[in-house]
Each structure stands twice: as C-alpha cells, then as structure tokens.
C-alpha cells in the first residue's frame, strides 16, 4: 500500500486535550524532564509526565532503593521530591519555557491531600493534564494502598474532580496488584476520570543471599521493565474491553516501537516510557520513530486506528 500522499495523524486525546504524539515519559522515570532534554527536544514527545509530587517535601526512602532483576528492576524510591510549592516554582516554568507539554503526577496520603494538590494545580496555566497516582499508602486506612481499594480510589478521584475544574484532563493511574482491575477502573471512571494510566509497578522483593536480608532498604519495591510487559498488555486489554470510550495511557516495559504497538493494539491510546529511559536516555524518541514506521507499514493512517485492534480478531 502506498500512503505517501495521505497525512499521518499521530495525535492522541485525553479529555479535552490533544497531544501531538502518543509517546509520554512515565512518572518517576524522567525526573522533571531537564536531564532528558540533553538527549532530545522535549516537545518532540507527547508530554512529560512529572515525578509524583506531594504536598510537602519528601526525602524518599533510604538506599539501596534499587535492584536489577531479570529483564526488570525493583525500586523503592518512595516519591522523593521537593513538594508542590517548590515544584511549581522551579520545574513547571522550566518545562513550559521549553515548550514541553506537561502532565503533573500527584500523590497523597489522604483524600484531602489529593484535593489540596488539585486546587493548587487548578490555577497553574499551561498544564496539559494531571495524572493521579493512587498507588500510595492511605494513612487513614492502615496504610492500605488507595489503588487496592475501590472505595478509596473512588473517593480520591471524586475529590480531584471536584477541585480541578473542568479543563484539565484527569488520568488515574492504577495498580496491577489487585484481584479485579476492571472493577477498580469502573469505579474511577464513574467518579470522573477522563483517562486511565495502566500499569504502575508490581510489588516485588529481592533478597541478598550474602547479607541474608532484602536487597532494598525498604524491603519491598516496585517491579518495572520488560519483565512486566505481559501483565501490562493483559491489564490494558481487559480494561479496554470493558470501557472502550475511556482512553488509556499504557506503560510497562516498553523499550521499542514494537512494544509500544503491542500496548496500543491491546487498547492504549498513548504509551509512557519508564524504565527504558534508564537503559537508553533517547528511548522515548526511538520508540516514537519506530512506532511511526510500524504503523505506516501496516497501513494505518493514524495511531488512533490501531488502538485496540487486537480485540477485533
């Protein structure tokens, strides 16, 4: 097939916002963007998704906070960051001045913290979206992770929705560590999510058999990288099958264009690159370029036409 004369539509859409490319960075895997800008112009990708930002400064967890595993890694960074005030002062202006589209990831320990973060972001001009990381321990409920509890998940999303106003799309990021991810997705969609981010890391652990204790100071950590891609594809496929109209930002072990297309065919409207950035700082641009070639080779005129096609055969 010859599509040379047709224009190729690489856009994706979450809520009311269009993004020119369907490749984003993954939260926590691009710091606040500055460092990667040395390897490619940030406006060449769909958006930078920032590290999850909390209300207050956070030191994160002690080292070692990283362990390599087969085709993956564990991390227990624990959301190190400067807190929302300094973040809005330093990082956001820098990103916007470099023409980067910005999706701010937020994390809280109570429903009220999420609400406060939403109120702070509501008044910031130039943002493209908000990603709500609900894989955080809920201090009001014995530290149980919000994303593992449908009621708490719903409460967070309702609070953010109420406080963010109408413009900014809300993408809610789910954990795969649940019995029924479709049920959680249903709750957060009905609570007002414009899109879903799938998947966060899997809870894992590695043990140092010489020191005879967990490798990570924080004992458990989040498993990411190519090892978890089959779980990501499955979660995206299941959720897309149930909620065709809710766009999904897919992630989990994407390192090249083929991986990205796998997530897209499963139902993702766009794809975030996380751990792959550590192995290859130009991964997002590489994935984007490869994806464009793969889509065109297969006769797609837009990335949107490829979203979820694996459901049809």
């Amino acid at each position: 097939m010859n599509h040379d004369f047709q224009s190729f539509d690489f856009r994706c859409k979450f809520g009311s916002k269009y993004f020119p490319y369907p490749i984003f960075t993954a939260s926590g895997c691009a710091s606040s963007g500055k460092e990667l800008s040395q390897f490619f112009p940030l406006n060449e990708i769909g958006a930078v998704v920032t590290n999850s930002i909390a209300l207050k400064p956070r030191s994160g967890r002690a080292t070692p906070s990283m362990a390599e595993t087969p085709s993956g890694m564990l991390n227990s960074i624990g959301l190190q960051g400067p807190g929302i005030d300094q973040f809005l002062e330093d990082d956001i202006p820098w990103l916007l001045s470099h023409n980067s589209r910005v999706v701010v990831s937020i994390s809280g320990e109570t429903v009220e913290e999420y609400a406060s973060l939403a109120r702070r972001l509501r008044v910031v001009p130039g943002l493209s979206g908000i990603e709500v990381n609900i894989s955080c321990p809920n201090v009001e409920n014995r530290g149980m992770v919000f994303a593992c509890d449908p009621v708490a998940s719903r409460a967070v999303v309702e609070a953010v929705r109420r406080n963010i106003g109408g413009e900014l799309p809300i993408i809610v990021k789910l954990s795969p560590d649940v019995t029924d991810i479709v049920a959680i997705a249903g709750e957060v969609i009905s609570a007002g999510a414009d899109g879903l981010a799938l998947i966060n890391t899997l809870l894992g652990m590695a043990i140092d058999i010489d020191a005879q204790r967990p490798k990570l100071a924080g004992k458990t950590g989040g498993l990411s990288g190519p090892a978890i891609r089959p779980v990501a594809v499955r979660a995206i496929y299941q959720v897309h099958a149930a909620f065709r109209n809710t766009p999904i930002l897919g992630m989990g072990g994407v390192t090249n264009g083929r991986d990205a297309l796998e997530l897209i065919m499963a139902g993702a409207s766009a794809v975030s690159i996380g751990t792959a950035n550590f192995g290859n700082p130009s991964a997002p641009i590489k994935v984007k370029e490869e994806l464009e070639v793969l889509l065109k080779e297969r006769g797609f005129n837009s990335v949107n036409d490829a979203v979820g096609v694996a459901h049809e055969k």
């Binding site: 926590g28 895997c29 691009a30 710091s31 500055k34 460092e35 990667l36 040395q38 390897f39 590290n51 207050k56 400064p57 956070r58 030191s59 994160g60 967890r61 002690a62 080292t63 070692p64 906070s65 990283m66 390599e68 087969p70 085709s71 993956g72 890694m73 991390n75 960074i77 190190q80 960051g81 400067p82 807190g83 100071a217 990288g225 190519p226 390192t255 751990t275 792959a276 950035n277 550590f278 192995g279 290859n280 700082p281 130009s282």
Partner: protein, 284 residues
C-alpha cells in the same frame, strides 16, 4: 550544580584494546568527541549484555584516561573488575566489538588554583581516575603523593606510566602480599604529616571514603571524594543513587551522586547512612 554534565552524549563506541592486568581488565574505547570533554572524576555508563540481554540497566565506570588525539581519534580508557554478570560480559568482549556508551557524566575533581601538596588515595579499581588527576596536578606544580590499597596484590591497579607522575607511591594490602600490610587509613596520618598534605583526593569503596574523611577532618585537610552508589541511570532521572549531603545552607538533602557527584566534598557527605535516612534530612 544539580544538572547533568552538559557535555554528555550517547554513542556506539568500538573496543580497541582489552587486556587483563592483575585482577582487572584495562579497556580502551574509540569514543570520538566524548573523550575531548572527559575530566578526571567523570564516568561513563555502558549498556551490557547485548541485544537480548536480561540486564536492562547501564553500568557506570570511572574514566581512567581520556585522550582526544591519536590513531583512533578520541579514546576513553577504563579499568574494569570482572565482578558480576555485567562486568564479566564487558570484559569478555573482543577488539572491534562495540558497546553503547553515555558520557562523560558527573562532576570532576576540582583543581586547586595554587600549587598545593595533594594526597591521592585509591582503593581497588578506585585508583583509576587518580592517575589522570595526578598528571594535571603535577602540571599545576603540585606535590602529588599517592596511596593505594586493596585486599590483595592483584587488586592494586598501578601501571608504570602512572607511577611516574607522582612524588611518592605507598601501597597497602590487607594480606601484605605487596607493600605495607594493612589498610590505607593505617598509614594515612603519617603520610599527611610527612608530606604536609593540604588536600586529599579519594576514590574507592564507600567504607574507605568514610574512613578517609574521618582522618581528613582530624587534620583539617580538604577532601574531595568520588563516591560509588548503585546507579540505575547515571543521568539524574531515577533517584536511586541518592545519598544525604549537606548543602551550602546547611540543609541535609538526599542528593543524586550521578549528577551532583560522583566527586563530592567529603565534609558535606553524611557518611554511614546506608539503609537509613539520617535524622533531620529535608523531607524526611
């Protein structure tokens, strides 16, 4: 600083030499322009395991030497210990094989503007970046003494041409198989006194650096050390390499050793904070 080395680039580089030296491999890479910007203390990050590798993270290696001229254009030299999976893969490569390298990365050793008496302390392959540093210090008219330690003789990396650029070289091994028997810190005080050391440069395992800092503090010398935390990215985006460091205003912050290091002011680092966040750290 808190910004990635602005000279850092990524490229596929060819191996032009790979020789076993004691317990290590001395490896030379045709690194092109990357070599021109490398300074003592900087490191490179290399992908390991080939196209279908299960190892997804880069490995960091201190630059032993860098030269921007010669037969192969710019070259970068490393001293690699075949330790685990990644380094064993790297050291098993042949001449003409290529690896993907990002560099130069991180901070470099600061060079005094006046000629001072400097003592360079290296543990194991930690001696690697010190030889290039010694040359520069000598050019600036400094007195340069070197103290290298390791567990056994084979783990002392001290090539002949390197030795030439120092005023004195002291070696310690824990088993006494070469040089003095003991640890570097056993002889450090006497060397400082004898040479009237004004600044210590160190590179080696974290435990050694902490011990050197203790001595340095006692003698009130300056101390620049190259730390080695495990690093997942080497370019400041993953936050796995942080350690607690006191900033100019006295606040302890978890600081990335890949971009605000590896070379740090020994006095600022909060030592022995493995597996815990020190009290009073910002955001703790």
């Amino acid at each position: 600083m808190t910004a990635i080395n602005r000279r850092a680039t990524q490229s596929d580089v060819e191996i032009i030499s790979n020789k076993k030296v004691g317990a290590y491999h001395h490896m030379v890479f045709a690194a092109g322009a990357m070599a021109a910007y490398a300074k003592p203390g900087n490191f490179v990050a290399i992908s390991v395991g080939g196209p279908s590798s299960s190892m997804i993270l880069r490995r960091a290696f201190a630059i032993y030497r860098a030269s921007d001229r010669g037969q192969y254009g710019g070259t970068i030299e490393l001293v690699v210990a075949p330790h685990g999976q990644g380094s064993r893969w790297l050291t098993s490569l042949d001449i003409h094989d290529r690896v993907n390298m990002v560099g130069p990365l991180g901070t470099h050793f600061g060079i005094p503007t006046e000629p001072v008496s400097a003592l360079l302390v290296g543990g194991g392959y930690g001696s690697a970046p010190l030889f290039g540093l010694a040359e520069i210090l000598k050019e600036r008219g400094c007195r340069v003494d070197m103290l290298l330690g390791a567990s056994v003789a084979g783990k002392i990396y001290a090539p002949l041409e390197g030795k030439r650029s120092v005023n004195s070289l002291t070696i310690t091994t824990e088993d006494g198989s070469t040089g003095l028997s003991g640890k570097v810190t056993d002889v450090l005080p006497s060397l400082i006194e004898k040479n009237r050391t004004e600044i210590i440069y160190s590179c080696g395992p974290m435990g050694m650096l902490a011990a050197v800092q203790e001595v340095s503090q006692k003698f009130d010398t300056l101390h620049q050390c190259a730390v080695e935390e495990s690093m997942a990215c080497g370019i400041g985006i993953c936050m796995t390499c942080v350690l607690p460091v006191r900033d100019e205003s006295g606040v302890i912050k978890m600081t990335r050793s890949c971009i605000d290091g590896p070379v740090m002011d020994g006095e600022r680092v909060i030592w022995n904070s493995h597996r815990r966040i020190p009290e009073g750290t910002w955001g703790a």
